[in-house]
Subunit: 658 residues, 2 copies
Amino acid sequence: SVNPDLASERQTASFCVEKLTALLDGGAEKTRIRRAVVEAIESDPVFSRENQYFQTQNERYEAAVRKAVHLQKKMHEMGWTEDGPEYKYIYRALSGDVAFLLHRVFMRSISVLGSDKQVAKWIPLATQHQLIGSYAQTELGHGTYLQGLETTAVFDIATQEFILNTPKISAMKWWPGDMGRSATHTVVFAQLYIHGKCYGIHPFIVQIRSLQDHSLCPGITAGDIGPKMNFEHIDNGYLMLKNVRIPRDNMLSKFCEVRPDGTYVRQGSQKINYFTMTTVRISLIADEVVIPLMKACTIAIRYSAVRRQSKLKPGEQEAKILDYQTQQEKLLPQLAAAYAFHFINDYLQELFDRGYREIQRKNFDMLPELHALSSGFKAVITHHSTAAVEICLRACGGHGYSLLSGLPSLYTKILASCIYEGENTILLLQTARFLIKCFMAASAGQPVPPSVTYLAAVKPGKCPAKNKLDFLSPDIYTEAYQHVAVRLISSTAAKLQDLIQSGVKKYDAWNQCTVQLVQAAKAHCHYIAVKNFAETVENLETKAGIQKIMKHLCDLFALHGIFSNTGAFLHDGYVSAAQMDMVTASYLDLLAVIRKDAVPLVDAFDFTDKNLNSALGSYDGQVYQRLYEWAQKSPTNKMSPAYERYLKPLLHNTLSKL
Amino acid sequence: SVNPDLASERQTASFCVEKLTALLDGGAEKTRIRRAVVEAIESDPVFSRENQYFQTQNERYEAAVRKAVHLQKKMHEMGWTEDGPEYKYIYRALSGDVAFLLHRVFMRSISVLGSDKQVAKWIPLATQHQLIGSYAQTELGHGTYLQGLETTAVFDIATQEFILNTPKISAMKWWPGDMGRSATHTVVFAQLYIHGKCYGIHPFIVQIRSLQDHSLCPGITAGDIGPKMNFEHIDNGYLMLKNVRIPRDNMLSKFCEVRPDGTYVRQGSQKINYFTMTTVRISLIADEVVIPLMKACTIAIRYSAVRRQSKLKPGEQEAKILDYQTQQEKLLPQLAAAYAFHFINDYLQELFDRGYREIQRKNFDMLPELHALSSGFKAVITHHSTAAVEICLRACGGHGYSLLSGLPSLYTKILASCIYEGENTILLLQTARFLIKCFMAASAGQPVPPSVTYLAAVKPGKCPAKNKLDFLSPDIYTEAYQHVAVRLISSTAAKLQDLIQSGVKKYDAWNQCTVQLVQAAKAHCHYIAVKNFAETVENLETKAGIQKIMKHLCDLFALHGIFSNTGAFLHDGYVSAAQMDMVTASYLDLLAVIRKDAVPLVDAFDFTDKNLNSALGSYDGQVYQRLYEWAQKSPTNKMSPAYERYLKPLLHNTLSKL
């Protein structure tokens, strides 16, 4: 039975939920396929996440390995293949709670970086899981700055082997998933030395555990790096190498080879690797960021329609907390952001598919733009979404703080996305470097990539809005965003120039501008996100109320961004104080409008209860019943030795005194 | 041996670290006492937190009970008493990792709300821990809004008993600490009914577990609410009552009594209770918020002086990440905030001591102001500090994400402070209600409490700063903050008036202004925090470089607040765009100045390595060694059944194929 407070929210939806779901999936047929995958996974008890919040790190790891192994059987049984249309839904259906993700990276790196002979040798074994691979790049003392890696691989002509070492503690490999306990092999990135000369970072296949009894191989020290904020199911590991010898054939040699006599040969282009890195950043956005954000919105908004607290009007019953303006102001902008990021992800995917096709035709022209966009959006979307999930958690008060709400684990997991695959600040500075370059080029009248042509058309002007309704015009707010992006990029470029001209060294000048460069890069991405949302809305079908509600969300996304960052728009007077008051009024009005459709808007994300795994977010809204049922299953409801040991001696003669 | 990168930071301190520590402690004698307590606690292995990050919730609970029981012995042994000067340092030395905190609240509520007879009966037993108490107020469906509590206590004249019930699932008591597993008794808050008439919420002592075998008493259902984001050591519990009968004497009856014939008698003033609630909010700021923030700053700043990443200047070794402007911009404002909040806490403590003295003289005039300040600062400081700890965590990259860094548990614990003892948004609205009232009074020429007299002196004017150095003048920035607070309060008051005059009902009008009311309340608190910091600095002794470095931090705290919220200052032109550029320039300059003293500034917090419990934050900066040593102790480095069960069958015949 559905909680009547939630049921009533669904009766007044202004649009067709099923149609919106299909839009998000990219068509009704895809919705059908996705649901079939979800059904198959969720009906299989091996994949259950039911007791997840009660499990220790050891139990989570064991379950993840069990699921990974079982998944192979399942795929075979269901006829799913890695190339099939179902594949992309499996990970989502499992909520990522599965092992051997780095094994896939191991395979991908051999496919991309290995010679045909190496591919033929290793890929079949890896596909069958007859070995478990990992990917050992990051070191205890070295992350983003790859040139700084300290692990060495010295070529020994006499034996035709590479001798691998992690010469210092900071050189120890640290973080690789699947390596702490599972992996038998890994791809180690090390500085290649031949005849005492360093040739830079290269990848080597290294066996680390025995295939007979899983004991560590000679010269190998490895283990698990211990507890983390999340990812309990993954055995992130450490690895020390002491004079570990591997055959010459184990250096992945599609692009570089060491000949038997020690000659170093580089062949082909490495640009494609550079591209691989950028695609990884884009590919994580959907599964690791947007989906978790949608889950958090679903949980917090359903709960807010069920939770009643205080009286809004005297004499009435306590009000749904979703009816308070402050609660709407917390949650609805996050909902709008979830939609905005879904659509920008579509845009980026499309752009990258196009880029990939160009690269296959040996045209690398799009690479700098793609790199800048993937870096910037990875940073902006992970940052914004992490903050959004935290807001959802806090908006649920005490119950949001219970692991049973599902929100803490969504938060602690999404937080990692700000750090992995490139730390966000460093990525934003990469985007900024591209923007400054393009701005200089555009100022000099040179051509620039499509996403930054707006930098060439700097118009001073003022925002033309005359009343609060004008701020519901996409042209008005998109131009305001554009204006801010241009202003921040151009003023930072000017500061940089001034510093250099005043005699400050280039690298010092750059460092002194980095806080503002980060702001400029964010403004650029925010502008593109708003523009893309507005364009997407314009192209939607007007049927079934979809376009109308999406337009509201687009307006909210845009106006929330202005409302939360008024100074950027007011600074040079592009938006006046009176206009800013109109923005505020329109923004607050929109909250009340979207609030009416809030529950249908999260229903459209179409999460099953099992997939949400939240006592607060279930479709039926039976929050209290579920919290109570789940709590009773907690291992903390078993007898503790603390009673016999510590409490009983204290209490034993109280009775006589009462 | 101290990491040389860290040692070099200490050699150039511009001030005397030991003098600053004494200032923070309130005198060198207090520093001595604090250190003696820390030494006594940390040298006792029972209080060790060494393996904390590896323990399950059950293990954490058991350890917390063990420590709580042992603490009684320790206090006796050391001659520490609850009134002595050592007492306040014990909890800090234990990092709060101890049970029976709600037992103290149980005792306090009996002392405050109980009759002399009740105090005489229960307090001695509770002091000796011959019973374990809890405090059962919050329900599954009811938090902040106390009038909404659903638990009932019906007086039965025939038996002279109260019959207690939690009539619905939402009425179940939920969250009380020490209740899930430990407590034998609790104070239950319930709606009192006599002859069918409701007299509102009253407190009742209820026994919930047997003193003989700890089994649940008849009519009682109780247990642990399960896993939370932190507080694994606390057995937060649930409690259902079904026709539980307690003697008439168990209603705490200092202020209200039910006579044997069912007559209800109210006596004395309840205002003191109201005051108790506000003091709790102030008392949590130091231990639960400022100290954790100081710890996070210590960890992140020491790590940033040791971690090297990328090259800042070509040809040099990799740079300390603390030398990057973006890293400084993340961490140094948090450091400044830690000092600002320490000083505002001193101010609030003093104010409350004064308030307490007045109340004892039956003068309740200060109550509304104290309530507004305690609500507002609880919300502002917990919110800001939670965000600050998260920034510290993320600024440490991957290693910050490891539990071994100590940062995840600092974050997940401080986060709860935004929710407990009054949810922050609700508290800010309480402050706002006070501000609107005072603004109206001030506008009408009526007298207002000291902290809001500035509302009467609204000056339009403009910021007089002429160059970036002017923004290092406390008068300049304090007035800017004051101007913004007045503007936000007065404009929201005007909006509220306008809505009501246009016919909107008062409660609707209030709801439509709440987003802006929250902003106004924050601006008020921010202004007072800046003003207090500036005044504190002015009164410091100029010796030993203390005043100079504190002045820098005060400037940074103030300018960071402007830089992060430029729109509020630009809106009506009080600060012009050109002046805002001066603010930015001064702010960025300050980062480079304070960076030089960053490590000494966190050293002054004087945390021991055991108290920090962080692989990244130790005094000697041997980060990598410690991460490696600690990781090896993780239970995830034991053999997992996953190998035999799932991996071995996969790998068993790989050897033949390689």
